[in-house]
Assembly symmetry: C2
Homo-oligomer: 629 residues x 2
């Protein structure tokens, strides 16, 4: 019988001192509880998402020193933990000192073994290959089979030898690689237990898949598998990730026999009869991960931890009476308390009484700080100053004046609200102001740079508009248990109210038709093989129903929205041009995005400002379709 402690700790990236302190405390507790092994996550000491901090040798030395402290603490317990392993006399492909993403196994105050990560993820937000030397590269250098290097670790516990297969995160997600570290471990066995230490960011629905994949591994090898993941928040600058922990134990039949609460730091204990593969323990049900509940947890946890990480206790939110700012207000009020949230309504002549009243009602419902600061005079002043001040051509002496169009005036208002008022108010209030843009807007740049696109965090920018509505209902029903977000805000047509053309009282609003465009944009952005106009038009040409099925939107919607292919194509090209054109320029200067989906803007979705392009096949197909009309 092994008593195993699951050290599901919150890892603070860039703080090896704090992480080590936390680990030593947990080790102390686990030793006290007579645990035989304690398992910590991947990169528990340094943190995982550090950008190019990995290039600082001083930082590497520091993590090494803290690693020695953890090893020294293994007098009465076996410790399995993740850290960077530095080979000071070797170099990586970049000429810098060689670093491994490694799993350390310590016992009796000494290092027993070290295993290095075989598979380095190099998609989405991951950058392992940039910094670390994988076992695959090592095998190539040594001119050996990589499989032969993947060996279990043998440790003695209570006079029995155990053979542990220690792998790191991606090693367990090997479907698409030519190397299968788990099969290699089994082949180089015997094997009593597989331990996967991970630093795996939350993605909506990922745990469902992980349970299928890891369960199969345990079943196929007939060996129990323990997955330990960290909690906390880490970021790549432009994209911010929550880590849900959700450490899980699978028995040799692949059944889940224990798991730690997600988004909670935990030191859970498990008594496992390795001899029987944990088959004597009762399987437990793990909650489905692809739910609004899970989404809310990630967003709320992420926003809270982000505030903590930058030391921000007070938040300013511009409330328009629309849905995005309402959700933002309800969310932040639930995190910091309403007394620390200052809601600001900033009307101009274009804002309806309806939305002004709704903004006030929302604020009353939440009991926040509230103020109204109109932008009418200041926006007007700016337009006048620009259009009435003469511009002199100093080569010719001629004078001219600039003219401010209504479109230019729309953006003047948006910037007046954010960069003039909210930024000033936030500084005076001693806090920051939020960016309330959603993913649909961010996709096509339907927001103003230095205007409503500004803020310290784009909290909702990985949610499609329909998810923002879901979150609104969830906040009312499950978080507050009352209608803090007025139903009228949820029912209102979405509008920027920057001109009379966008009057909500006349039912006019955004040019984005969310029930269709949410799904079209998602196909551009989130499909593993990105959908382009070529794909979309091909599906449409097969049958609008085929496209609806591919996109996952409501059946029958596309035929209702577009009278014929010409209108469909105009719409497709319009949004594709924006998505790959001006919106890219805007996203480059966007705030950090809190990621929850399988693909978030920023470092997860790397993009160049290269402008729109239509492939030859697209142009041919379009020509055929329009010629046949």
């Amino acid at each position: 019988m092994l008593k195993i402690a699951l050290g599901q700790m919150e890892v603070i990236p860039g703080r090896p001192d704090l992480n080590t302190g936390k680990m030593l405390t947990m080790i102390h507790d686990a030793s006290h509880q007579q645990a035989d092994i304690i398992i910590f996550p991947e990169m528990a000491i340094p943190g995982y998402l550090l950008g190019d901090t990995w290039e600082q040798q001083a930082y590497l030395r520091d993590c090494e020193t803290f690693g020695h402290q953890v090893i020294a603490a293994s007098r009465d317990i076996c410790i399995v933990f993740g850290n960077v392993a530095v080979e000071w006399d070797k170099h990586g492909d970049d000429g810098r000192v060689r670093k491994h993403n490694a799993c350390f196994i310590a016992q009796n105050g000494k290092l027993i073994a070290k295993r290095i990560k075989t598979l380095h993820p190099n998609y989405r937000e991951f950058d392992d290959t940039r910094h670390f030397f994988s076992l695959r590269k090592l095998a190539l250098e040594l001119n050996q089979d990589v499989e032969s290097l993947i060996k279990p670790v043998k440790i003695m516990i209570k006079d029995r030898e155990y053979s542990l297969g220690c792998i790191i995160c991606e090693d367990g997600w090997n479907d698409d690689y030519s190397v299968d570290p788990i099969a290699a471990l089994a082949a180089n066995g015997p094997l009593d237990l597989i331990i996967n230490i991970s630093s795996s960011p939350f993605t909506l629905g990922k745990n469902n898949k992980r349970n299928r994949v890891f369960s199969k591994q345990a079943q196929e090898t007939g060996v129990p598998l323990i997955y330990v993941n960290n909690t906390g928040l880490q970021n790549n600058g432009k994209t911010v990730y929550t880590f849900d922990g959700f450490s899980t134990v699978y028995n040799s039949a692949g059944q889940i026999i224990a798991y730690c609460q997600p988004f909670t730091e935990n030191l859970d204990y498990l008594e496992l009869k390795v001899e029987t593969g944990g088959l004597d323990l009762k399987p437990v049900n793990v909650p489905n991960d692809f739910t609004i509940d899970s989404l809310y947890q990630a967003i709320s946890y992420g926003a809270k931890r982000f505030l903590q990480s930058i030391g921000m206790n007070r938040v300013v939110i511009g409330v328009s009476g629309g849905i995005d700012s309402a959700v933002s207000a309800a969310l932040y009020a639930s995190i910091l308390g309403p007394e620390n949230i200052l809601l600001v309504n900033m009307p101009s002549r274009f804002n309806s009484q309806t939305t002004k009243d709704l903004a006030a009602q929302l604020s009353h419902n939440l009991g926040c700080l509230y103020t109204i600061m109109p932008i009418e005079q200041s926006a007007e002043y700016t337009a006048n100053q620009i259009s009435s001040t003469p511009v002199t051509n100093l080569a010719t002496g001629k004078q001219n004046k600039l003219s401010v169009s209504s479109f230019v005036f729309e953006n003047i208002q948006a910037r007046d609200r954010s960069a003039r008022l909210l930024a000033g108010i936030a500084a005076a209030f001693g806090g920051g102001f939020t960016c309330n843009a959603n993913k649909s807007e961010l996709t096509v740049g339907y927001s103003t740079l230095y205007g409503d696109q500004a803020g310290f965090l784009a909290t909702l920018a990985d949610l499609w508009k329909h998810q923002v509505y879901e979150l609104a209902n969830y906040l009312n029903k499950n978080v507050y248990g009352r209608e803090v977000i007025p139903q009228a805000i949820i029912d209102l047509v979405p509008s920027a109210e920057l001109s009379f053309e966008q009057s909500v009282d006349e039912g006019k609003g955004d040019p984005i038709i969310y029930p269709y465009h949410d799904y079209l944009f998602r196909a551009f952005m989130e499909h593993w093989n990105r959908a382009t106009p070529e794909d979309i038009l091909l599906w449409y040409s097969q049958d609008p129903a085929v496209l609806e099925q591919k996109l996952g939107c409501q059946p029958g919607l596309i035929s209702r929205l577009f009278p014929g292919p010409r209108e469909f194509i105009d719409d497709l090209e319009r949004w594709w041009r924006l998505y790959t054109g001006m919106a890219v320029a805007k996203r480059i200067q966007a705030p950090p995005v809190l990621a929850v989906s399988r693909r978030a803007y920023g470092f997860d979705h790397r993009e160049a400002q290269n402008g729109p392009y239509f492939t030859q096949n697209y142009l041919k197909l379009k020509h055929q379709i329009l010629a046949a009309e």
Copy 2:
């Protein structure tokens, strides 16, 4: 005798249609000139820096089709060109279709051979490993020596068989890798000619190194080497790179016998006796690359191409009378003509008559469009609106007012200039406005978000302050041949003039002491092994002269600036905190940076918003030093 055409083309990323059109024209010309071979750069068809566009299968199909067109054009000439090679029935490590960064060799209208890139750079701005499957990975999958797969290509030209060693960019920069593709080619020889097709971004001084490295390769193998690189501009969103071409031919003794003009699209011809290794051709002198001349070329070319790529013909620049905006104004006026440049002076009560006059004088010297729009009233209005509007606590009914400190007011002014005025003016003028921040400011966030940090491109943000001054002198002397930037601007103390504490007339200015901090910040940022406070303090503790030598600043400066270690340490910690703290948050929302140095902000320098950290060794050393005082 081989007649070789060097196709130093401008590659437009994301435009396979235009690139292929260009290639077909060059192929036609070269065939007409009876050239035997024409060589195009790496990724000549798709472009190189495309972000995740590589995940669009429609784009890959498109590039493949254009590749077939180029191959078909090889009836009378051998064509060597770079393109993506797709293995539709295989997958990469990410599960997507397998893509190679490949070199195609075509003749008689057919594909003769294909070679894939062995070494994938994964440092700085490079992301090859994210998208492409390298020969190293293939060797691992095939369980073969990678060296055995690196074979020359045999082609028949005028009844003689030639053996070409075709490699791609990084394959020639193999010092730090365990595989040497050139040695492998030579071992698998015979070898008549090495061809390195590249897409290698400009970095100040890199060509000097490239000539040393490639020259040695030609000499050691005794085989002539032809390097063909593209021109143009490509970007990773956040960082913008110029490509200088500078294609070069080395004979078998390693001497340079030909090169193409940098930053110029070229179709140059060379007659090479492969039998004699090109030793009969006279060596030529290649200009030194590490000069202000080279820097100016890159900046000017980069800004010009960036404007073209986004279709911008008119530019607005806020001119303060300081050096950064003056350089920006002179630069853009030389690119677009002064009639397309609108210079805007935006004084407040804090701006001296001195700088107002200098801004006007600069504008007169350049003959640009000019206007003065004060921010005094608007900034005052904002401060008043914020501090006089009551804020109500809706839970208690209590009212309060916010107060605007002088620091808050400084930032209000900066945002008033950029987000209120310049953004509005630029929109009305039909152009964009520049960000004039330099690298020293960007390093420590000495600029205001949505204020002077805003703009469509941070043109000077990869230049340390002392390089901005060098560029100012260069513009006057070499570009304009007259003092367009008034000498008084060059001589003036640098100041933000946002408060009376920053009065230039009293010689007060920025808190950054550029002659020292430029070099300290450069060590943080550009040293290959990033210097941290631990390294800096260690060098200082050895001797301030050691530190001066490590940093490359003026000898004796550090002792003059700091009375003792306490002051030195305070200064070090202050800037390190900013560099790794608030400045990171600001850089996340900064405009794209035009890169010229060995390390530019953005995608080249990846960073997480993790906050400042001091290593244990640093803290110990600091304690020792201060205790000894």
